[in-house]
Symmetry: C2
Subunit: 199 residues, 2 copies
């Protein structure tokens, strides 16, 4: 089974994913998808990071102007990076049970029946506290970073998946980690997945 | 504890709420809120139904033009109906554990710490099948009804709650009843609530 986790910045989605993977004895992937993509595609890690969960270039305009000729080499760089990442996610999906955080994994693996797509969110204050403590920055700075990161994640997700980031209907399950706590959310997800596996 | 359930039309939210209430031995409220509102406010049931989860009048324009003078009698009818409904929901919240479907109950009871707000959704095809079978109408007609009802529910919710209907962050928990099934969703909610009550 594959669990994909979308998350608001600072909501604890990554921590929840890691703990869940440990409990279920599943493989766990987040930023290491970037390393794998670099290794398999030959594109540098720096470039891959530059386009990770961001929409930086107006590459669609490039596509529309006819620069694409069918060969992947002619695709805009941003799109080549995304497609290489999607390919890595597809392979991860074929190699056994896993928890995958971010990077539109829910969309890449949408045809599979054994995927549970999850979205983790929390109220702004709680996320600001978390981001501020983790990065040793002011609350104000944390709030800016949250707004900015979520804006990029939403734009990236909405562009590549034709769904809406953070909208309930884009996911099988959405959980407020502020209401349940990180460990509470892990508990519920674990219960839920064990029930699903029995069906 | 109070469970509030928002739901897409045809997602089975009401059935899930009823089954959940039965399992937990909680009181259950959906349209009977209308009867209670009629009885307690003296407004006719017909009028209350007319404004139930709908934004029919441009009553805000009326408010802005200064027709309100502080007495509830001078408020636009739509708003008087909504406030009477909210008052009934507040009283329900004070009278013991309950499951309440729709009518912005999550917003009305937002200050309470013992509320779990849930949103139930499902993919369009599954909802159309359900609505078509239940109402003995064509799939096409069912899809129209779904679109129309959800539009009204969203407008009503967004107006009175200052949150966004169907957005993950407006709720503690969002569940795809298509992925889990009606009974699966009930199972999962029950587990979740029993765990929350132990904290």
């Amino acid at each position: 089974m594959i669990i994909t986790i979308g998350r608001q910045y600072g909501s604890g989605g990554r921590e929840i994913g890691e703990k869940l993977a440990k409990r279920l004895d599943y493989a766990y992937y987040d930023t290491m998808i970037l390393e794998k993509t670099a290794k398999e595609s030959g594109i540098s890690r720096e470039l891959i990071m530059r386009y990770d969960e961001q929409l930086r270039d107006k590459w669609m305009a490039g596509l529309a102007s006819g620069s694409g000729t069918g060969s992947a080499d002619h695709l805009p760089l941003a799109l080549r990076v995304v497609l290489a990442q999607f390919e890595v996610i597809r392979k991860i999906g074929q190699s056994g049970s896993a928890v995958i955080v971010g990077r539109c994994a829910d969309y890449v693996l949408r045809e599979r029946k054994d995927v549970l797509s999850v979205f983790i969110h929390a109220d702004r204050e709680r996320r600001a506290d978390r981001v501020s403590a983790r990065n040793q920055i002011s609350l104000e700075e944390a709030k800016k970073r949250i707004k900015n990161t979520d804006k990029h994640r939403a734009a990236y997700y909405n562009c590549y998946t034709e769904k809406i980031w953070g909208s309930a209907e884009s996911y099988h399950l959405c959980i407020d980690s502020g209401r349940f706590g990180i460990d509470g959310a892990v508990d519920y997800l674990e219960t839920c997945i064990r029930q699903l596996r029995q069906v």
